[in-house]
Structure formats: structure tokens, C-alpha cells
């Protein structure tokens, strides 16, 4: 959502997270805000503050009217000269983050924003990170965007700032080709292929320096990848033009939209029906005494997420965007902002797909594959609601990879705060056996809930989840074995 700050007259971006339905501990969100608040760079979207309204947390960030690179690619991929500019700016952003002892962890076109003047900003870190962690160990959920992940991140063998360099290389391919390598494959399978296969290369009609640049980023051993600072010296980016050229991409996108390139979706969504107030609590309990008249007021929440079946999607929080925007005191929604309506409408449905069907023959568009998000309800709700640009899924981004207090000298970047634990891949055998159940199978089944309509079907899906859980209890590790079997057989079909 985009709004403007009355005090500064500046347009700002606001994310709204309903803490009541968010999976995350408030402490974790606060940690992320702490980190965000300490960042100040022209290459990173600036954090302005966070405010609570009922149980809705409003996070106010710098607004970038140009949109995300993944939006801007909708009319077509970028020419190499533009990519060089973007990559240079990204490297500057990464150089800053890494020197501050932070990792982004989710570099991809959808998280790269352009200002009106073409400045390139890294977005979507912190705050929401916990909500949608690429692989969030603590919540045991499997969410995220495997296509951009480096082998060492997937293998959980410990990683550092070089993981961002890998993702940058993948992003460069994405910008050039429209999608990252393996985009046509099921994300689960991709998690197996990235660590197994040789690194992808940039194929096609591109200059040698571009292809070389990408190959530098995409080296299997993180130690072989140059740092952001070193990459800034590479010919590919040294020759890049000024950022103001990037406004051409914004104009191209404007034209494309004006020509009807993007069907405007109906932004009206069913409003979540407010739960009836539970009433004065003292109506129920009998304390045998005179009631306290001055019971403190209840908290001012507008609506309550009705909890659905376990681990399902809930998109019903979405429409709040509009109404909250209008009744806020200090921040008002910018009138007639077509972009904000477009964003919010886009945000509601298609962009947060459950696991795409494995056998899907059609090549997916970038923004579809941008997110594989199989999380418990809250994660999706919050995400859906709040982003200015829907494709730009908040996710785990900054990791203080040094002790926050011991931090900040550039070359100490080795103590990795290992948040991830979840997915086991290949030979990794020291993971808890139930990870596959909790992180993959149950969420995958959960993702089917919104696709079925009858109560009977939902009951059947619940039964399926219970059956898996029960089987796992009796035969620990069985889910993992089963999934391995399935993936193996998939690979045998598709791998030459």
C-alpha cells in the first residue's frame, strides 16, 4: 500500500501485518525492526517507523514508485545495458549490507525496486523476514523461493555473504531471460538439483563480459565467488551507464500498461466478516461479586481472523488495506493512486500460489514462481495484505550473521546465524525426522484447502494430514523416505 506522510509530504510504502494471525513471535519481528532501523543507504529502502493499530502492525518504508524489477519485466526482459546498471547498483547495496554485517538472503527481481528517477533499491528485508522466512526453521515451515538459493544455503552447510552473490548471479539471469534457471520445474525438485548439478550459466546472445560476470557469481564453492566490492571492479558493471537510464524501463512499463498489457483485476474482495464481540467477559464467569464497572477497554481490533483448517491459506485479511488506509490518523492513503489499487488487487490471489502442480507443462511467469509459499495461514495473510508490490514477497532477509553486539567489521562475516534448518536434502542425515512432515508434506496438503470447495473435501484433506502425522508417529522418518522415493522417481523420468 502506498500512502503519504503528512509531516514530510512524502509518499511512503506501508506494510500491514496482523500480529494476531502472524506466525511469528513479536520478539522476532522486533529484532528485524531493530536491524532495519540501523540501515541507511541510498541502495536500500529506508525504514521510517512502525506503528500499531489494534493488532495490525504498520511498517512504514520508503516508497519506490518505479515498482519492482519483476513488475517492470512484464512487458519483456531487460536489455543487457540495463541489467548492467541494475547489477552495479545491487552490488553497491550488497557492499553496504555486507560491510554492516548483514545478509539480504532473498535477492531476486521481485525484491529490487526502482525509484521514479531510476535509483535501484534493495527491498524487503527484515520485519517480514520472519514471517515468510525462506526456510524458517523455527516454525518448521517450508516457504520460499528455491530458484535463487545457493547450494550451500540449501544444504544448510553454513553460509555467509557469498550466498547473496550467488542469488545476484541468478537474478542477473532472471533479468536477462525472464526467469531464473529451473523455473519450469517444481520447486521441491529444484532444491535437489541446485546442490547436485553444475552451476547454471548464462546462455544466449549476450556479451562475453556479462556471461563471465554471471559465471563469477555462480561458483559452487562460496570461497571462489568474489565479494560485492570485488565484483564492482568487473568490466560488466564498470561500463554501465547512469541509473537515470533505467527510467526508460519505467516508461516502457507505463506504455505497456496503458496499452492494456495487464488486465486490471477486480480489487473488490469479500470483506472478512467481523467476529461478533465475545461480549463482556464477566457475562460468563460468576465471581459472586459485584462486577467491576471500570474494566479496562478491550483492545481495538477491527477483525479477527477466523482460524480455518490447520495450515491453510487465508486470504481473507486482504481487503483491510483500503479501510485501514482511510481511517488512519497520520497517514492517509493517497487518493487516486492507481498503482496502489493495482497492487492490492494483484496481491490477493494469484501471486501466492500453493505449490504449483509438479507436472505443470506451461512455463510459469516470473511472478508466479516468485513465491512458493507453503506456510501456515498467518504467513500468507500477512504477506498478502501488506506489500505494496505483491510480487515482492517479504521474506527472510537480513540476518545478522554476526553477533549483533560483536559486529560490524566487514571481514568477520563468518559467524552465520543459522536460522534455517528445515529441508533436508540428499545426504544430509542429521536433521530431525519430522522436518519433512512438518515443513513439506503438511503444508503441501494445507495448500490444497483453498482449492477445494466442499466441506467433505476439506475433511478428507484433514484426514490425509492426520494420516501422515499418525504414520510419522508410528514409523518415524517415513514421510522423508516417501518424499525421497517420489522425488527419485520424478528425477528418473525427467533427468537424461
Amino acid at each position: 500500500m502506498c500512502s503519504y506522510d503528512k509531516r514530510t509530504q512524502k509518499t511512503v510504502a506501508i506494510k500491514i501485518i496482523d500480529l494476531e494471525s502472524a506466525e511469528d513471535e513479536i520478539e522476532d519481528i522486533q529484532q528485524e525492526i531493530q536491524i532495519l532501523s540501523q540501515l541507511d543507504s541510498p541502495h536500500v529502502t529506508k525504514y521510517h517507523g512502525s506503528f500499531l493499530k489494534g493488532s495490525n502492525l504498520w511498517i512504514v518504508m520508503e516508497y519506490c514508485s518505479g515498482g519492482s524489477c519483476s513488475d517492470l519485466m512484464k512487458p519483456g526482459v531487460f536489455r543487457e545495458e540495463y541489467i548492467a546498471i541494475i547489477v552495479r547498483e545491487l552490488l553497491r547495496g550488497l557492499e553496504y549490507l555486507h560491510s554492516e554485517g548483514k545478509l539480504h538472503r532473498d535477492i531476486k527481481a521481485a525484491n529490487i525496486l526502482l525509484s521514479a528517477g531510476g535509483e535501484v533499491k534493495l527491498a524487503d528485508f527484515g520485519v517480514s523476514g520472519q514471517l515468510s522466512g525462506t526456510l524458517s526453521a523455527k516454525k518448521n515451515t517450508f516457504v520460499g523461493t528455491p530458484y535463487w538459493m545457493s547450494p550451500e544455503v540449501i544444504k544448510q552447510s553454513g553460509y555467509d555473504h557469498k550466498a547473496d552473490i550467488w542469488s545476484l548471479g541468478i537474478t542477473a539471469i532472471e533479468l536477462a531471460k525472464g526467469e531464473p534457471p529451473y523455473a519450469e520445474l517444481h520447486p521441491m525438485k529444484v532444491l535437489f538439483l541446485i546442490p547436485k548439478n553444475p552451476p547454471p550459466t548464462l546462455e544466449g546472445n549476450f556479451t562475453k563480459s556479462f556471461r563471465e560476470f554471471v559465471s563469477y557469481c555462480l561458483q559452487r564453492d562460496p570461497k571462489d565467488r568474489p565479494s560485492a566490492r570485488e565484483l564492482l571492479k568487473h568490466k560488466f558493471v564498470r561500463m554501465a551507464k547512469k541509473t537515470s537510464y533505467l527510467t526508460e524501463l519505467i516508461e516502457r512499463h507505463e506504455r505497456w500498461r496503458a496499452e492494456g498489457g495487464e488486465r486490471l483485476e477486480d480489487e473488490e474482495r469479500d470483506n472478512v466478516s467481523d467476529l461478533p464481540e465475545s461480549g463482556d467477559p464477566e457475562d460468563l464467569w460468576d465471581f459472586g461479586t459485584v462486577r467491576h464497572v471500570s474494566r479496562p477497554g478491550t483492545i481495538g481490533r477491527n477483525n479477527i481472523q477466523v482460524s480455518g483448517p490447520p495450515l491453510t491459506w487465508e486470504n481473507n485479511g486482504t481487503p483491510r488495506t483500503g479501510s485501514d488506509g482511510s481511517d488512519s490518523s497520520s497517514l492517509t492513503q493517497r487518493p487516486g493512486s492507481s498503482s496502489s489499487t493495482r497492487y492490492s488487487s494483484l496481491a490477493t490471489k494469484g501471486d501466492l500460489p500453493p505449490l504449483p502442480p509438479p507436472a505443470s507443462p506451461t512455463k510459469k511467469k516470473v511472478d508466479n514462481q516468485a513465491t512458493v509459499r507453503n506456510g501456515p495461514p498467518s504467513a500468507s495473510t500477512t504477506l498478502v495484505n501488506n506489500t505494496r508490490a505483491p510480487q515482492r514477497q517479504p521474506s527472510d532477509e537480513y540476518d545478522d550473521y554476526e553477533d549483533q553486539y560483536a559486529e560490524t567489521y566487514p571481514d568477520h562475516a563468518n559467524v552465520v546465524q543459522q536460522k534455517m534448518a528445515a529441508l533436508l536434502l540428499e545426504e544430509d542425515d542429521d536433521l530431525p525426522d519430522t522436518t519433512m512432515l512438518d515443513s513439506v508434506v503438511l503444508p503441501a496438503i494445507a495448500s490444497l484447502f483453498p482449492r477445494v470447495t466442499s466441506q467433505e473435501a476439506r475433511v478428507a484433506l484433514s484426514a490425509l494430514q492426520r494420516a501422515f502425522t499418525e504414520a510419522e508417529r508410528i514409523i518415524p522418518g517415513v514421510t522423508l523416505e516417501l518424499v525421497n522415493e517420489i522425488v527419485d522417481s520424478v528425477e528418473h523420468v525427467e533427468e537424461p
Binding site: 500480529l19 494476531e20 513479536i26 520478539e27 519481528i29 522486533q30 525492526i33 531493530q34 532501523s37 540501523q38 541507511d40 517507523g49 512502525s50 506503528f51 500499531l52 489494534g54 493488532s55 502492525l57 467476529l275 464481540e277 465475545s278 467477559p281 464477566e282 460468563l284 464467569w285 460468576d286 465471581f287 459472586g288 474494566r295 479496562p296 477497554g297 478491550t298 483492545i299 481495538g300 481490533r301 479477527i304 482460524s307 480455518g308 483448517p309 490447520p310 549483533q404 553486539y405 560483536a406 559486529e407 560490524t408 567489521y409 571481514d411 568477520h412
Partner: protein, 329 residues
């Protein structure tokens, strides 16, 4: 002359340079040359002090010792905390790093900065007071957090009246700051358990009358977090005496029973974890048992339906346990 310019400045030079520059931040016209220059000096000196402390991964112990001594003898740390809001963005971050590095500095089993701060409690209080200014609250919050790792410093704060300013900072700031203040309150109350247990036992009434305002806050986050922390405090073995007193009080039980029916599921859930302690108590005082017995049927129905959508065996087991207890009343 050039020769001398390149020479590294000594710790006393740096500390003096910094101390001289700080008062000038407020002199001259806003945006004027004097201020700009002063700000530059502050930032530069802080950077160089930080460079000494962190070195290039390899700080020189003699220089560090000299610097630490100089900061103590000039009360530099207090001056930094009090003036941090006048510094530039990066300089504020440097203050935090410098302060926390000195706090962690150890010689044998001694922490010289901690000993110094013990003799200057006003620095601890000024750091807590950083919550008054949203601009720097997260910076000073980080310093406070580092202080609280040390039992002596934590104790000084806990036993002071200043401690009772936490609720004010938690209630009257925006989300990020409020949460940070709460996190430090939690740190104060949970990091050094035996010390805190003794305090809570001795100051039971004052503490809980203050803490209850947080539980009854209109702020969703404050309410939810303070309930959760209450549960943690009560269930900690170190706080057994405090828990016994808490669960003997009927007003506390009523509050929890009401919170069980809060609109927010999360708050209900946190309240449940406090409520269960009342019910599980094998020696329930009469006033508690009376309330539970009077609501027996309603409680049984309520518990059977409580958060049935939630997964997780522990909750199911605990509910079952409570149901059995209540049936037996």
C-alpha cells in the same frame, strides 16, 4: 608538519577531541558551520576510537587499556549516552559499538567497565532514559541490553525507582521502541533468576501492581507480551514463592479468567498458561477454590471448546489435565 598529521592520535587526544566537540554541537546557528564542523569532529573521533577498540581484527591491548582508562576518568560514556541524539546516524551506531565493546572488556575475571558503571549508576539510568527519544531509543536500547547481561548492573536498575519507568516507556512509544523496552524489561526480569526472585519476593506488591497495568494495557502487543512473560516468570522454579503468592490471589484469578475470553486468540492462549497454574495448584486456597467451583460447569464447557483448532499435543494434554482437576472440585 605533514609528518605529524599522519601520526595516529593517542587515546587521550581522541577522547579530548570528542569531549571538546560535543558542547559545540549546540552552539552557533542550526545548520551553521560551527555545528557542522563539530558533528564532523564527533563522527571522526568516534570512528577512530572504534578503530582502536576493534582494530583490524587485532586491537592493541595497551591502546585499548589506555582508552578505557581515559573514558572512565573523563566520564565520557555518560556524555555519549546523554548526547547521542545530537550525533549523526552512523556516529550513533559507533557509540553503541564503542560502549558495548568496553562493556564486554574483560581482564581475568574482572569487567572494568562494569565496575566503573557500578560506581556511576546514573549512566545506567540515562541509558534507560534513552527511550524518551524515539530517534535514538533503539541505539540506547542496545547499550542497555548489553548492560543487563551483567548481574550487578541489572540489580542496580531493578532496585532503583527508575525500574518503574519501564511501563511508561512501553506504553508511550511506538511499536518498535515499545517492543525494545519490553524486551529489556524481560531481560531485567529473567536473565539473573535468583537475584530477581529475591527482589520479587521482597517487593511483591509494588512490582505486581505496576506489572498488572501492562497486562491490562489497551495496547494489544503490550498486553500479549506481558501476559506471556508473566507465565514465564510464574512457571520458573526460582520464583516458586512468588508464584505461590500470585495464585493465592483471587483478583489475579479473575483477571486471568476474563483474559481467557479476550477477543484475541493469542491473548486467550497466554492467559491459559497462567490460568492453568491456579487450577493445577494442589493446595488451592479456599477463595480460589470457591471461584473455580462456582464456575465448574462453565469452565468444563469452555475448556472442552478452547482452541480446539490448535494443533499440538501439549495443549490438549494440559486441557485434559485441567478438566480432570476441575471435575474433581
Amino acid at each position: 608538519m605533514n609528518f605529524f598529521k599522519t601520526k595516529q592520535r593517542t587515546p587521550p587526544d581522541l577522547v579530548r577531541g570528542l569531549r571538546d566537540a560535543i558542547p559545540k554541537l549546540e552552539t552557533g546557528a542550526p545548520g551553521g558551520e560551527t555545528r557542522r564542523k563539530a558533528n564532523e569532529d564527533v563522527s571522526k573521533n568516534l570512528q577512530q576510537i572504534k578503530a582502536i577498540l576493534y582494530g583490524d581484527g587485532d586491537p592493541i591491548p595497551e591502546l585499548v587499556a589506555q582508552l578505557a582508562q581515559e573514558t572512565y576518568s573523563t566520564d565520557l560514556l555518560h556524555s555519549l549516552v546523554v548526547n547521542i541524539s545530537r550525533f549523526e546516524f552512523e556516529a550513533r551506531k559507533d557509540v553503541v559499538q564503542i560502549f558495548n565493546n568496553l562493556l564486554r572488556r574483560q581482564i581475568g575475571s574482572r569487567y572494568p567497565t562494569v565496575e566503573y558503571l557500578c560506581s556511576k549508576p546514573e549512566i545506567i539510568f540515562s541509558t534507560l532514559g534513552g527511550y524518551k527519544n524515539e530517534e535514538v531509543a533503539l541505539n540506547t536500547g542496545m547499550i542497555l541490553k548489553e548492560m543487563l547481561r551483567h548481574e550487578q548492573l541489572c540489580k542496580i536498575l531493578l532496585y532503583s525507582d527508575e525500574f518503574y519507568k519501564y511501563p511508561h516507556y512501553i506504553e508511550n512509544t511506538t511499536f518498535g521502541i515499545s517492543c525494545d523496552a519490553f524486551a529489556n524489561l524481560k531481560e531485567t526480569l529473567t536473565r539473573h533468576k535468583p537475584m530477581v526472585a529475591e527482589y520479587l519476593d521482597k517487593n511483591y506488591d509494588r512490582f505486581f501492581s505496576s506489572y498488572t497495568t501492562l497486562i491490562l494495557s489497551n495496547n494489544y502487543v503490550t498486553k500479549r507480551q506481558s501476559l506471556k512473560l508473566l507465565g514465564e516468570i510464574l512457571l520458573d522454579r526460582a520464583n516458586f514463592n512468588v508464584m505461590t503468592r500470585y495464585i493465592a490471589n483471587e483478583a489475579n484469578l479473575k483477571m486471568m479468567m476474563n483474559l481467557l475470553r479476550d477477543k484475541s486468540k493469542n491473548i486467550q492462549f497466554e492467559a491459559f498458561h497462567v490460568f492453568k497454574v491456579f487450577v493445577a495448584n494442589p493446595k488451592k486456597p479456599p477463595q480460589i477454590e470457591v471461584i473455580l467451583r462456582r464456575n465448574k460447569d462453565k469452565l468444563l464447557v469452555f475448556l472442552k471448546n478452547f482452541h480446539n483448532d490448535k494443533e499440538g499435543k501439549p495443549l490438549v494434554d494440559e486441557k485434559q489435565f485441567l478438566i480432570v482437576q476441575i471435575q474433581g472440585l
